[in-house]
């Protein structure tokens, strides 16, 4: 088994780090890079920056934030929100991002997945999926930060996205997001069973122990954490220790 990655997720609106519930009711947490630096120093394996109003306004303003983070943060960074073209992706990669995450524009124009993967390699092209449960073992793809339904079945969309060149899946459960009720393990399992690319489980971590089911039952390759870190209910180090205690292989961060 590869090392399971512990990823700090930062949702951004304008200049602020924010947090919502079900991706809505956004509350301002503070300056994003103060938090990013804290998570890096605690040993986060990666960071994800998501501009959560970018699709609505048709632009991503994360370039400056990421460029400034690149001075202090020396782990991989994924950036998403409002990426509509190879040119948008290029601009964010130049700012220090290592991967781009695409959701809304990929649904509107699936060809974009292949265009980005061919230009930068599939390891760079993360397909971001916002999933809402619509029936037993059935989830629908949402876009625009959980606001718009698409009619697409999550499992079919994941399969198509990977065949087009997506190298990784960022899977956010809109139902669990911000609720602290634990990950949607059935959703994670349904997706990891379907594809061989890494899957990042996102949405719902209330306590460090929540990652155990996401990894051992859901077979997630990585877990994204937001609320639990932003509100200082646990550090990345606490979460790493819980993972290790459950027999999950994580980066030996202290072993520098």
């Amino acid at each position: 088994m590869r090392k399971i990655r512990l990823i700090a997720r930062l949702d951004i609106k304008g200049p602020n780090l924010i947090k919502g519930v079900h991706l809505e009711g956004l509350r301002v947490i503070g300056p994003p890079n103060e938090h990013a630096l804290r998570y890096y120093q605690q040993g986060a394996d990666e960071l994800i920056y998501m501009d959560c109003v970018a699709s609505l306004y048709g632009r991503n303003n994360l370039g400056d934030i990421v460029q400034s983070a690149a001075k202090d943060v020396f782990v991989p960074m994924t950036v998403g929100g409002g990426i509509r073209s190879v040119a948008d992706a290029t601009q964010l990669l130049r700012c220090g991002a290592d991967k781009v995450a695409v959701n809304t524009a990929a649904v509107a124009n699936p060809k974009l997945i292949g265009d980005i993967a061919r230009r930068f390699g599939s390891q760079c092209m993360v397909l971001s999926i916002e999933a809402k449960q619509v029936g037993p073992d059935r989830w629908e793809v949402y876009t625009d930060n959980g606001r718009e339904r698409t009619g697409l079945n999550v499992i079919e969309w994941v399969r198509k996205g990977v065949s087009l060149g997506a190298g990784e899946i960022l899977l956010t459960s809109v139902d669990k997001e911000g609720t602290r009720k634990g990950y949607d393990v059935a959703l994670i399992k349904a997706v990891t069973r379907e594809v061989s690319v890494p899957v990042i489980a996102s949405g719902g971590m209330g306590k460090p122990e929540d990652l155990i089911d996401a990894v051992l039952q859901g077979e997630a390759d990585a877990v994204a954490m937001a609320d639990i870190l932003h509100y200082r209910r646990a550090t990345v180090g606490d979460i790493r220790n819980v993972a290790r205690g459950a027999g999950i292989d994580v980066r030996d961060y202290e072993h520098a």
Binding site: K3, D45, R94, G121
Partner: protein
Amino acid sequence: MSTPEVVVIDYGVGNLLSVRRGLERCGANVAVTSNRDVILSAPRVVLPGVGAFADGMAELSRHGLDDVVREVAAKKTPLLGICLGMQMLLDESEEYGITAGLGLIAGRVVSVPAISSEGQPQKVPHIGWNSLQPTAGCKHWKGTLLQEVRPGAAVYFVHSFMASPVDPRHRLADCLYGGMPISAAIGRDNVFGCQFHPEKSGAVGLKILQRFLAQ
């Protein structure tokens, strides 16, 4: 502008900002350039790179920089290749047919094994954090770029091909992927290479860059 302590070669390939920032974090005055005179007069040179081997070599040649890198190595200037920049230090690569490399370290670049030591299929590219281990030809890291690194420390990889140096002494560190050894760091005299990204490997990576700046 004062004289740079390290030059990062810009030949149109890859995200150079992170490499630059990593070196700056280690206190260095960094220049990013494709100017041959600046490269040849630099006290230390970094050859970065991502993407396919043939594209990287083609871009390097197109900028007239392949011979410049060879000259840097011949002058005994410390040279660090990162990721594709490390692979290009070898004689040749078998990625999409055989392509000649810079020939600074004897050996070739081959595929990351798609089958584990237990015969199971495994994912290629090899992406993520993996632990550095000493090798048969380099049992301790004293006097190398890895001097400050403890065996077992994890660093960040993204690659589908790997270097296979002929001389085991040029193989400084390996990591295991599905039980199969992958060459993680190589070195010969003043020429070094990291398959992983030190600029994305947190404190461990910065220690390696720091050590390179002390060469």
